[in-house]
């Protein structure tokens, strides 16, 4: 039956595949049996045995062809050929171990690096686990005239939006901090205050218990999976438990699943306070997220919102005139912060890809040309074109496979490296894992590139006829080839130059950053943050009183030399700024009002931070809320706004409706965080006394003469003694706080310089390879020249000149490119110097030196050519 037949055939094929040697032997046996019988027949006819044998052999003329046909019939010759190709490939690789190693390393690094960046980007851009996420939108207020972009909304506006009919559910929310009292300690937990509609919008059910409901009042809270595991140790009995939050017992009604999307670090979800719900139309504090009704398209919704906004603007001209509503898909909002960083990462990726490909291409091109002669000979001997191409494909595929295997290492290391920076800008980066499909994809791309580069030169070679290739005796480099290779080298050097210059500029900025004096003494200072719950400390007086008491207490701790509080540390990302209005200055339009950073400090702050006083006085205990309103400014502000006179005694206000403040002191400048410096440039800093401008959340600053960490328990108990419901959090030394602000910078720096180093290495190797092959090709010519009387030195300069010309062109192009790039970047960021001759010179020098070394070695070899051996190869 058919099945039996196919089974037999299958068995045959498998046998051919696995027992090929045996099968081949059988074939030989079969033919030799035939030969024997033929010989016997001839002998039987009377011929002598030797003659009979010869006749028989002659008669079986063509036996090789028949054998081939038999093998073809078996249909397994592909496997045979493949094995042969593999053996050949191995031989080739062994013949050029250096070149092969370089190709493998380059491919592995490029593939691995790309995969790492891919994986991180994919984790960051992973779609939110919200059902029908494309129907979920953020709703922002906008006022282009006042430059309000992605602005929060007010409760009455939210209610009116909700009535517009396009939302299935709409929820305002606030981020907030919560002080959660646990049996053994109090912990500060980030969270969200929202209406129960938030859960309707996100449409994700609770993992345990239930979500907030309309009838819950202020009692109920919902916690995240992370908080449940970390703080409550996955205790299932937590649901229904009462926990004091901000001093008031609340009931945990539910736990969210681990896949619940986070917008920041929130772990608690509580209802909005009644006061918030009743806030006015002008109080824009709420972020808004909504789910569009079924059947409403994004454009239609946007259109409707525009109509609603117009109506509101007319109805409430005082609050809502000029205000529009803008919808933003929640996915976009989620990755917004990451986009700049991701762009950077991807740019690095692109650069490294270019460098790696150019390098591999030029290497393989050079080698391909060198093998032209070999291939021509093999073609003349009867090698089919397809067969030879297949051999080359196998060879390069083998390299690519090896590289792909090795690529896992840099890929995995890259992902871990980026994750180790723990950047909040990159969501989900902790969960970023090596993306296998990315690895496979990159592997395919790399293999493809490798194949193309390997085959291409050979194809070019074949287009010329075999004859000329044979005759050429290897001295002829077709012009197109030379040009192509020169192009590759120049391109590589140019990109390398750009990368090295960019790396140098970033490095320089970073070093300046690090070396810069902060304006305060960051050594041996412990900081911690405290956030008084506004419901427990409703009046500013009570807040100020708490902090005064606290400062008094911790000052008396042993080993504390100075203590103070400030609204925000100078290293904080959360700086507050306001418009600066000068007394006696003419009215300024809204968009031209200068901005200053302002903060509120205890009188002992400057002493604790060791910020010097330039003029005037510190704050004292007499600067109470009933006294004259005073302010201290920094030297930069004083010089900028009162260049020809002293700033002391001048009056400013920090908002149009704010009271006037008198300047009583000028202190030294203090550095602002990295991001502010780069995005906003230089801004002034002003200080107000705590008693006149209190805040519930402040940073405590302690200067000590012992190890800072040893103070932490004492500080914690001091705070607890004053009020056990108030936790301390974000406890770190001031130096640590300074470093933390530089994390993004650090990552960019490492990546950029890593790629620049690799590019430098590759460019040098590529240059070397090209020139070495050149010299080898021209060996007979050089030999001829030497034998005709040329000086070896002359040859050296010949090769050197050629190499340095390539390097020079590349560097010049690179400089051009870098100049353009720097111009672009300095338009976007402050603090980037447009002309930095020192860095440029160093970078150019580095690239030039690498190029020179790469050129010199083969040039030297040119001088050592023995004319006799060189001429023999002619």
């Amino acid at each position: 039956m058919a099945v039996g037949r196919w089974l037999d055939v299958l068995r045959l094929r498998l046998r051919s595949l696995f027992l090929f040697r045996k099968v081949d032997a059988e074939l030989d046996d079969e033919f030799s049996y035939h030969l024997d019988r033929l010989t016997e027949q001839h002998i039987a006819r009377g011929l002598a045995p030797a003659v009979a044998l010869n006749q028989a052999i002659a008669a079986m003329n063509g036996v090789l062809r028949y054998k081939e046909q038999c093998r073809d019939a078996r249909g397994m010759h592909f496997i045979d050929d493949f094995r042969q190709d593999l053996r050949y490939a191995f031989r080739q690789i062994r013949k050029n171990p250096g070149l092969s190693a370089v190709i493998v390393v380059v491919l592995a690094l490029a593939t691995g690096g790309n995969t790492a960046i891919f994986s991180v980007a994919r984790a960051a851009l992973a779609p939110l686990a919200i059902p029908a996420a494309d129907r979920t939108v953020m709703v922002w207020s906008e006022n282009p005239a006042r430059n309000w972009h992605q602005f929060p909304a007010s409760m009455p506006d939210v209610r009116d939006w909700s009535a517009s009919g396009i939302f299935a559910s709409l929820a305002p929310f606030l981020t907030d901090g919560f002080n959660v009292r646990l049996p053994d300690r109090t912990e500060r937990v980030e969270g969200v205050r929202a209406t129960p509609d938030l859960f309707a919008v996100l449409a994700i059910p609770a993992a345990r218990g239930r979500l907030l409901g309309a009838g819950d009042g202020q009692q109920a809270i919902v916690i995240s999976d992370r908080l449940w595991r970390a703080t409550f140790r996955s205790d299932p009995g937590v649901v229904g438990r009462s926990v004091p939050v901000d001093g008031v017992p609340r009931t945990i009604v539910g736990i969210l699943p681990p896949t619940f999307p986070r917008f920041g670090r929130e772990d608690i979800y509580a209802p909005l306070a009644p006061a918030a719900l009743e806030s006015g139309r002008g109080s824009r504090n709420f972020s808004v997220i909504g789910r569009l009704r079924e059947g409403v398209s994004f454009e239609a919704a946007q259109h409707r919102m525009a109509e609603v906004s117009e109506t509101l603007a007319k109805t409430y001209p005082g609050d809502d005139s000029g205000i529009g509503a803008v919808l933003q898909p929640v996915q976009d909002a989620y990755v917004q912060d990451a986009s700049l960083l991701l762009d950077l990462l991807i740019a690095t990726l692109a650069c490294s890809l270019i460098v790696a490909s150019a390098n591999i291409a030029s290497l393989l091109l050079a080698r391909g040309v060198g093998r032209r002669r070999e291939l021509a000979i093999r073609t003349a001997l009867g090698g089919g074109r397809w067969r030879l191409t297949r051999q080359l494909i196998t060879e390069h595929l083998l390299l690519a496979v090896v590289a792909g295997v090795f690529a896992v290492i840099p890929a995995w290391a890259g992902v871990r490296f980026i994750a180790s920076y723990r950047l909040t800008e990159l969501p989900n980066v902790d969960g970023a894992n090596l993306n296998v499909s990315a690895l496979a994809f990159n592997f395919l791309v790399a293999s493809g590139a490798g194949l193309l580069c390997g085959i291409a030169p050979v194809w070019f070679a074949w287009r010329n006829d075999v004859n000329s290739a044979l005759k050429a005796s290897g001295t002829i480099n077709p012009r197109s080839h030379q040009r192509l290779r020169k192009l590759f080298v120049v391109g590589q050097v140019a990109v390398t130059a750009i990368l090295v210059i960019a790396g140098g500029v970033v490095l320089r900025s970073f070093i300046e950053l690090v070396r810069q004096q902060p304006g305060y003494d960051a050594s041996r200072v412990l900081t911690t943050r405290i956030a008084l719950d506004p419901t427990q400390y409703p009046s500013p007086d009570r807040q100020a009183a708490f902090y005064s008491q606290l400062v008094g207490r911790v000052s008396r701790l042993p080993a504390v030399t100075a203590a103070s509080v400030t609204r925000e540390l100078p290293t904080s990302d959360d700086l507050h700024g306001g418009g600066l209005f000068l007394a006696g200055a003419p009215e300024v339009r809204a968009e031209n009002v200068p901005i200053v950073l302002n903060t509120s400090v205890d009188p002992g702050y400057f002493r604790a931070m060791q910020i010097p006083l330039a003029e005037g006085r510190w704050f004292t205990a007499h600067d109470t809320k009933d006294g004259r309103l005073v302010v201290i400014v920094d030297r930069w502000t004083a010089r900028k706004y009162w260049p020809n006179q002293t700033a002391l005694g001048q009056r400013i206000k920090l908002g149009r409706t704010q009271p006037w403040l008198e300047i009583v002191g000028i202190v030294g400048d203090v550095e602002a965080p990295v991001l502010v410096r780069f995005l906003k440039g230089r801004i002034g800093q002003v200080y107000r006394p705590l008693a006149q401008d209190p805040y519930p959340a402040m940073s405590l600053v302690l200067r000590t003469n012992i190890d800072e960490a040893a103070l932490i328990p004492a500080v914690r108990s001091s705070v607890r003694d004053l009020d056990p419901d108030q936790p301390i959090f974000q406890t770190e030394t001031l130096s640590e706080a300074r470093v933390a602000g530089r994390r993004v910078f650090g990552l960019v720096l490492s990546l950029l310089n890593g790629v620049a180093c690799m590019a430098l290495l590759l460019a040098a190797v590529g240059l070397y390879g090209t020139l070495a092959y050149d010299v080898r090709q021209r060996t007979p010519e050089f030999g001829l020249r030497i034998s005709l009387g040329a000086e070896p030195m002359h040859l050296l300069t010949l090769v050197l000149r050629r190499g340095l010309l390539l390097v020079g062109t590349g560097v010049a192009l690179g400089l051009l490119g870098a100049a353009v790039g720097i111009r672009l970047v300095s338009n976007a960021l402050y603090g980037v110097r447009t002309s930095d001759p020192a860095t440029l010179m160093v970078a150019v020098g580095l690239v030039g030196a690498a190029g020179a070394v790469a050129t010199y070695v083969p040039a030297r070899r040119a001088t050592r050519i023995s004319p006799v051996t060189a001429l023999r190869s002619l």
Partner: protein, 122 residues
Amino acid sequence: MRLSSRYPRGHLSKPPDLVQGTLDLLVLKMLTLEPLNGWTLSQRLRAVSNDVLQVSDGSLYPALHKLEQRGLIKADWRASEHNRRAKFYSLTRAGRRELERESANWYRLASAITHVIRLEEA
């Protein structure tokens, strides 16, 4: 493969495409009688056809291997008449079916050609 014309006596000239398929048919038929190896097969073929059908040495084997790959014949190694090991081919059931089919085709073709050749000139 080609039918050799070493012995000009009674040699047939046939168009090549006819030859290939026909060789398979001949081989299959020879194997119905008993299992044979390549040498014996070619000798037998010559004998049976009075030297008309002669296959050059070795050219039978590709055809045999192809038939084996198609599952129409199967091979095994056994001792020949001289106690030497040789590869003997025998017909499979599928081969028998193929033989019937190809024989029928051949008769049809041959009779059609004969009929045309015998047409009287008008």
